[in-house]
């Protein structure tokens, strides 16, 4: 029965391999176009089994380095929701594309890499999953192979991402050298007794991990690729990178630091606190100066990564509720929904206007009322206005930071709140453009139905989570407890 816990993984693997050939199936010389449906079926089975597993068998099941616990299932659920939104939106986006099979196949395989990443308790498995997640996304970013922007974005993304993979491998080798193990629990028990002679290597490994994960998490100063990649990639892939790959990198960082490296007597919490403050401040200030909607989304996603990083900056003892960590996981969920929806809204605007510079948003509420309304809701959610979902996760993160045993915890929370207040200036500015400014052209723009379905689903989810957060808070609390519980005794 334990094998049932592998259903989400197997479903993604099987359907991911099937999707590409399914895209080439022909019937009387015309393509059947089965690939997207194979993809959606695979994702749906994975999501249903994830939810079912979460309800029925919350106790962790371990297969060597692969551990299926509530933390894994939580991330699996979040990433699958993102993948489903992206796939459905891609039905519209990729309508004219002849290579649907590889596109959806790669999407599924990358999703598989992400959820394995969340499940890995072994550094080697973690690295394999990291590459399984990354390599398809390079191809997906460059999917418009005749578009120079897409190619440039992919190149930039690939070079930095490959560098980050190399750094992670180096960090893994250092950790293996110190501890003689690649399993996270064994690493933890070995590190807790590590002598002073290995300390420099341990610190180097931590720095390399932070940089390696930091590139994917897009924390400052490793954020440079994000705006270009998001702008150049097909817009739905922008959503996939911003919400999928980025959150999966956070899952990996949570596992490695909270289950493994925490035992090492090095104060990486302060490092994360500094990086968090710099990341959110740079993201918010830079977002204010953008002229293009996708770049604005990119910088706002950098700022949001800064908030999530606060979860790694708040140490906790085993006795108290890891409120900051639970808040971080909650923000992962909320951010993933908000950001995916924001990119899909951008896709809806881009289909007809073909540009996403902010001037084309002037008076958009009269031209695309549904899209504008959902963008307004999403932006208020990102700014953390109650009763939308982003509010409660921020409250939990910031409160967790105040609880921190470090005396700077309160200042970190204050800095984050001031940032949060400041971010309203650009979120409000876009809303002002959409609702208060006069459009240059009054004509109504048709809103693609598929995008609207996704946007309405996301908007409803934003309100549901915001108005009744209790079950979601309990979910993230138990996911956080599962993560802490996977530390081993």
């Amino acid at each position: 029965m334990a094998l049932l816990s592998l259903t989400p993984f197997l479903s993604l693997a099987v359907f991911g391999l099937l999707a590409t050939p399914a895209g080439f199936l022909r019937f009387r010389k015309s393509k059947l176009g089965l690939a997207p449906f194979v993809c959606i079926l695979g994702l749906a089975i994975a999501l249903v089994s994830t939810v079912w597993l979460g309800f029925t068998s919350p106790s962790p099941v371990s297969f060597g380095g692969l551990q299926v616990d509530l933390f894994t299932l939580f991330f699996s659920g979040v990433l699958l929701i993102v993948a489903i939104f992206v796939t459905v939106a891609s039905l519209q986006n990729m309508r004219e594309d002849p290579n649907k099979g590889p596109f959806f196949g790669l999407l599924l395989l990358s999703t598989l890499g992400m959820i394995v990443l969340a499940a890995s308790m072994d550094l080697i498995l973690l690295y394999v999953a990291w590459e399984l997640m990354s390599i398809p996304t390079y191809a997906l970013t460059a999917f418009r192979k005749k578009d120079p922007n897409s190619n440039e974005a992919a190149m930039k993304f690939f070079v930095l991402s490959a560098l980050s993979s190399a750094l992670i491998v180096y960090a893994i080798s250092l950790v293996f050298g110190i501890t003689g193990s690649t399993g996270l629990t064994a690493i933890a028990s070995s590190l807790s007794t590590a002598g002073p002679d290995v300390r420099p290597f341990g610190v180097l490994a931590i720095v390399l991990f932070i940089v390696g994960f930091g590139v994917k998490m897009a924390v400052v100063p490793f954020h440079m690729w994000i705006p270009d990649a998001f702008e150049g990639a097909p817009v739905t892939i922008g959503a996939f990178l911003a919400s999928g790959a980025k959150m999966a990198a956070f899952a990996a960082a949570f596992r490695v630091f909270i289950v493994g490296i925490f035992a090492f007597n090095v104060d990486f919490y302060s490092t994360f606190a500094i990086v968090a403050v710099v990341t959110m401040s740079v993201g918010n200030v830079a977002a204010l100066m953008q002229k293009s909607f996708t770049r604005l989304l990119a910088y706002s996603s950098i700022a949001q990564a800064g908030y999530i990083l606060m979860a790694l900056a708040t140490p906790f003892t085993t006795t108290s509720v890891p409120l900051g960590l639970a808040g971080g996981l909650f923000h992962v969920l909320n951010y993933a929904i908000l950001k995916t929806a924001a990119f899909i809204a951008a896709a809806a605007v881009a289909t007809k206007l073909s540009v996403t510079d902010l001037d084309s948003f002037n008076g958009l509420s009269r031209r695309m009322p549904q899209t504008s309304l959902s963008i307004a809701v999403i932006f208020l959610g990102l700014a953390g206005v109650p009763p939308l979902n982003g509010f409660f996760s921020k409250v939990m993160l910031f409160t967790g930071s105040i609880y921190s045993p470090y005396s700077w915890g309160g200042y970190l929370a204050l800095a984050a709140l001031i940032n949060s207040g400041f971010s309203m200036s650009y979120y409000g500015w876009v809303i002002k453009r959409m609702y208060f400014d006069e459009p240059g052209d009054e004509s109504r723009i048709p809103e693609p139905r598929i995008y609207m379905v996704v946007l309405w689903a996301a908007t409803i989810l934003i309100f549901v989570i915001g108005l009744y957060p209790d079950p979601w808070i309990r979910l993230v609390q138990s996911a956080a407890a599962a993560l802490v519980g996977s530390r081993g005794s």
Partner: protein, 496 residues
């Protein structure tokens, strides 16, 4: 069983969606539904008045439901003598403002009334909630409709004013939220049995044992959030812009209700929660209040736009609230609460009138509004009465509230005698304005607003005159018992 308060809070928000959906094709229906809903909510608030037990100092009509128990959150609403007068002007001004919008809002009615109802939910929620996060939630709900009101239905500089309003108040609330979260964390450590909580009563019981530096941090950060809304002197610059650009019925909400959120927050969450911090901070806060009073009045003296002048009188009059509240005397605090009530009515009336005057003369410039007495005799009569109320002429409720504030201040220190400058300046600029607007000879045909508009204006005057002549029903049996109880508590806990 859902109680009266919850119905009053959520009925408008629930009806906002049908108002929008049905009203999109039929603007008349949107107007009817908008005004009708506010009328129903006002009727519910009358019902609350009927079941309220007068003379009782504690919280009444309390409702508690679990909300997000996993995070120490519950849904808790109640009224006491401090919130009841504000609840009443919230429902009353919403009704009058919705009725006043009938003529003055000329486009996108469905959106307007839907947002209006969401605003009403927020404002009633702010005055009744007794959980910090619930309070913050309603506090922010008020913000968003107001942003759209100014931005869509406002004057020529509406875009600038709306964004300025949003950024100022949202930043203020972010700092205030820090205070709330810090309070949750610091008063929720293992030293306090029962775990962390956002509940008002729980926190009120715990705070006295909180260390003074922590109390000071929370008191100052929350003060900042409330002070932006109030607004106090250096943080007030969003207010004249927002008022000048907002349509007149929205100015009624803005001055009559939104500013009162700041005043209410100061009393409920600052003065009453942090007695020890107040004993350290009161000289600073009252001085800021004094400066705001005099500053607002001085700037109003030179304002050219009649709406800008009224906006600046609000700044000045809100200074009284700050001064009265932090004297921490029964007279001062009762005066502050009563001042919010009476000022809300007086300034609401003035703003709505400025909208009618603008509509019928095409200008709001005081120097151009010559000879209004000939053109709009009924309106000018009402303008005189409203100005008398704002000048705090005896017979109007404003006199009693300002008298109480200054009495409270003088009982603390004779230095507060300086406060008397503000009322004198107020009389000065109002009389000067009236002389220029009404007493100059003017020519032009009679151009009076409709009778129903005049009736709306008269409705503002009724409570002002009743409670100005005979205040006990509101002061002695509602406000003072609650204030006496709280002041007794906080003085026992070390306020001064």
């Amino acid at each position: 069983m859902i109680g009266l308060l919850s119905i009053a809070i959520f009925l408008p928000a629930v009806l906002a969606a049908p108002t929008y959906l049905l009203g999109r094709k039929n603007p008349k229906l949107a107007k009817v539904m908008g005004v009708g809903t506010t009328a129903i909510v006002f009727a519910i608030s009358i019902l609350i008045l009927a079941v309220f037990q007068y003379g009782q100092p504690g919280f009444q009509l309390s409702e508690t439901y679990p909300w997000a128990a996993s995070f120490g959150l519950n849904y808790k609403v109640a009224v006491d003598g401090i919130s009841l007068p504000l609840l009443m002007i919230a429902t009353f001004l919403s009704l009058l403002s919705a009725a006043g919008s009938w003529d003055q809002i000329t486009f996108r009615h469905a959106e307007y009334y839907a947002l209006f109802l969401i605003f009403e939910t927020g404002i009633i929620g702010v005055f009744t909630s007794l959980n910090l996060i619930l309070f913050y939630l309603f506090w922010e709900i008020v913000l968003i409709p107001m942003f759209f009101f100014i931005g869509i239905w406002g004057g020529p500089r509406r875009r600038y004013a709306s964004l300025k309003f949003l950024i100022f108040t949202y930043s203020g609330s972010a700092v205030m939220l820090f205070g709330f979260l810090a309070l949750y964390a610091w008063a929720g450590t293992s030293a306090y049995p029962g775990g962390p909580s956002f509940d008002y009563d729980v926190l009120a019981a715990r705070i006295p044992s909180l260390a003074l530096p922590l109390q000071l941090v929370v008191a100052i950060t929350t003060f900042f959030g409330f002070a932006v809304k109030l607004p106090i002197f250096p943080l007030h610059t969003w207010l004249p812009d927002a008022h000048v650009e907002a349509p007149a019925p929205v100015s009624v909400l803005l001055a009559g209700l939104l500013l009162k959120m700041g005043g209410y927050g100061l009393i409920r969450y600052n003065l009453l929660l942090f007695p020890k911090a107040v004993s350290v901070l009161w000289p600073y806060f009252t001085t800021i209040g004094l400066i705001t009073m005099v500053y607002g009045a001085s700037v109003a003296l030179v304002a050219k736009d009649i709406k800008r002048m009224i906006a600046l009188t609000s700044v000045s009059h809100m200074g009284y609230v700050l001064l009265g509240a932090f004297t921490a005397t029964v007279a001062g605090v009762s005066g502050a609460v009563f001042q919010m009530f009476s000022h809300g009515l007086a300034v609401g009336m003035l703003f709505l009138m400025s909208g009618y005057i603008h509509e019928h003369t095409g200008t709001r410039n005081i120097d151009e509004l010559k000879g209004l007495r000939g053109k709009m005799p009924q309106t000018v009569t009402l303008l005189f009465l409203a100005s008398m109320a704002a000048m705090a002429v005896p017979g109007f409720a404003n006199f009693i509230s300002e008298y109480l504030v200054i009495q409270g201040a003088l009982s603390v220190s004779y230095l507060f005698a300086i406060a008397i400058v503000a009322p004198s300046l107020t009389v000065g600029y109002f009389l000067w304005m009236l002389r220029r607007v009404a007493m100059t000879p003017g020519i032009g045909p009679k151009n009076e607003p409709h009778l129903h508009s005049i009736l709306i204006l008269v409705a503002f005057l009724v409570p002002l005159l009743i409670f100005g002549v005979y205040p006990p029903p509101i002061l002695g049996s509602v406000i003072t018992p609650t204030v006496e109880k709280w002041i007794g508590t906080i003085i026992a806990l070390g306020a001064k």
